[in-house]
Amino acid sequence: MDTSIWRPIIYLVCFMAFAGLNAAYLGWCERKGAGRIQRRTGPMEVGFHGLLQPLADGLKLMTKQLLVPEGVDQILFRIAPILAMIPALTSMVVIPFSDNIQGRAVELSVLMLFALASIGMIAILIGGWASANKYAVISAARAVSQNLAYEIPMLLTVITIVMITGSMNLQDIAMDQQGGFWHWNIFRFDKSIFMPVSFLIFFICSVAETNRAPFDMAEAESELIAGFMTEYGSMGFGLFMMGEYLNIVVGACLTTILFLGGWSCPFGLFPGVWWFLIKIYILIFTFIWVRWTYPRTQVYKLLNLSWKILIPFSMVNLLVTAAFIKVF
């Protein structure tokens, strides 16, 4: 049987289901997590412990009218939410969940992921600009400057990894870290002594890239109402939200693959997709945990952090890695 047709279709269905489920239920997880941190219960009414809440929310959003205010750019206004969702979904294709679960093995998958991530930023820009709302425009401008600032340290740390592995294929990077946790890039002190710092930088950058608190300058509900989402209602808003959660999933996957050994077991036993899932959900929980702990930063403080701390640190790490690889 020729698997070349079926394989993509099966994967497409599975990945779509995975992505959709995550997008819907991460909202529930976030609300539950926030509730626990704040010593509340979170959603409780719809279904057992509010498990059907995402369905109810989805139903509500879908049955609402998609309001397109007067004076907005008709086409761009409608495109933006879709554009926020699609790249995040597409990113799923190249992520290796396990040594044999991967939508499509792309040789330059790291580059592809970052290219797609930038489109997400453009969606925010378009959405904010097309809304013809001053808050939305400010938000769009903030999102762009923030994303530009954070892609640099992020890419610098990725270059470090690529130098260590010698490949831009996520599958290769993950394979390279098989075995116990001492093989993971985060603890590879033989390549560079600053790898944990590098991991931290990458994690901070992925929080910033996904516009999550404390870097949610673009959304900033106490300053900009809801930023680029101000004028969106119904599923337009829903797609933005889903896109945000998917971006978190992608960010967690990427962090796991680049630093935490992908699907490998910390003790070198039974590697498999479950380890991968455990790792990404721990990371996602950290995203939620961080969001509900800190106040929001401010645009200039954020850029200062990027340019004055993260970029120099990742530069140093890059040089140290290069030196280590050359020497040893």
Partner: protein, 373 residues
């Protein structure tokens, strides 16, 4: 950090912050002329919740105005109760029994605590931190429960009466208050200071933001924590003592940094001072009646004008009562502290970033119904 503003007239735009905006805590509208994210000019527009309380005071008897006082500064309602009651008592020459004075001080300080806790929570919300809000509400809820037990209401208290208080406090209230003091003391360092005050993000957002010089404070008549954050040691409770405040040993926290962080710290320190006052008041609480005996049902103070000031959570609240010998106030002027505190917003916010201006606004601790009255 100072960033020069480059502004060509054709590049500015007007941003209406409010009247419905999450950061304005009610219905304040600020007309901002912006150059990008920098504010060129800020003009607060008031009056969205103006109810003309001062006219209402002229319409009814003195006692009938009592419930209105709680509806101005709904977060520190008892201070407004207190200010009004003091003014009328001064006009009618009513002596208040000592126990009633102590109960007044205890409840006012409890109310001040709840006001400061709510400010803290809402301020963190302005800065994007959600969780502290719930932690502060946990504590605040206990104050509300305590006050509800004795006053009967949770927010807009109408507890004070001319010559005393509505009814007496009981042992359960005293025990509950002592428990609460213990609880808040144990929670302050960790849940408030470690989680938030020492947080680098918060420090970076508040330090050196929103400078108010002492001279500006004076020129605009700013009082309360805003003035104390600018190094002005002024607290009506100390400088012009009323009620039984001279009996208590407490400090007035003053910070000279003049920035938002200083105002934040003043309020955080005031929480501790209020706890001290309540503790001492509970220790010294005398026995006796809680209401003066011969208070006529219909008050007819002698003609003339009378002034009474109290320290509300947001600054000096003044009550100017003009009487013409009738049974209602001829004119009642309510001097609300935030009205003056907000009036310097326009001058200070010039040249600020939008995000900083909102943090600065939060540090002023605005209660809009109090400004508009």
């Amino acid at each position: 950090m100072t960033v020069p503003i480059q502004c060509r007239p054709d590049e500015v735009f007007v941003l209406n912050l409010g009247p419905q905006h999450p950061a304005t805590h009610g219905v304040l509208r600020v007309k901002l002329t912006m150059d990008g994210e920098y504010i060129v000019k800020a003009e607060p527009v008031l009056g969205y919740i103006h109810r003309m309380h001062e006219k209402m005071a002229e319409a009814g008897s003195f006692a009938q105005f009592m419930p209105n006082t709680a509806r101005m500064d709904y977060l520190h309602a008892l201070a407004y109760n207190h200010g009004y009651v003091l003014a009328v008592e001064r006009a009618a020459g009513i002596e208040v029994p000592e126990r009633a004075e102590y109960i007044r001080v205890i409840t006012v300080e409890l109310n001040r605590l709840s006001s400061h806790l709510l400010w803290w929570a809402a301020f963190l919300l302005d800065l994007g931190g959600f969780t502290p809000l719930l932690y502060a509400f946990d504590d605040r809820e206990r104050i509300l429960d305590l006050l509800e037990r004795i006053t009967g209401s949770r927010l807009t208290y109408c507890y004070f009466r001319f010559g005393g208080v509505y009814n007496d406090i009981d042992d359960e209230f005293i025990a509950g208050t002592r428990d609460f003091i213990k609880r808040l003391r144990s929670r302050l360092p960790r849940m408030y200071h470690d989680l938030v005050t020492h947080n680098i993000i918060l420090i970076k957002r508040l330090k050196d933001i929103g400078f108010i010089t002492p001279e500006q404070c004076r020129k605009y008549g700013a009082t309360g924590p805003v003035a104390r954050g600018s190094g002005i040691n002024y607290d009506v409770r100390k400088n012009e003592p009323y009620s039984v405040y001279p009996e208590f040993d407490f400090d007035v926290p003053v910070y000279t940094e003049c920035d938002s962080m200083a105002r934040y710290m003043v309020r955080m320190d005031e929480i501790e001072q209020s706890l001290r006052i309540i503790e001492q008041a509970l220790d010294k609480l005398p026995d006796g009646p809680v209401k003066a005996k011969k208070v006529p049902k219909i008050l007819k103070p002698a003609a003339g004008d009378y002034y009474a000031a109290v320290e509300a959570a947001r600054g000096a609240f003044g009550c100017r009562l003009v009487c013409d010998g009738g049974k209602s106030a001829y004119r009642l002027k309510l001097r609300s502290p935030t009205f003056s505190n907000l009036s310097l917003f326009g001058e200070v916010a010039e040249g600020m970033l939008l995000a900083d201006a909102l943090a600065f606004m939060g540090s002023l601790d605005l209660v809009i119904p109090e400004i508009d009255r």
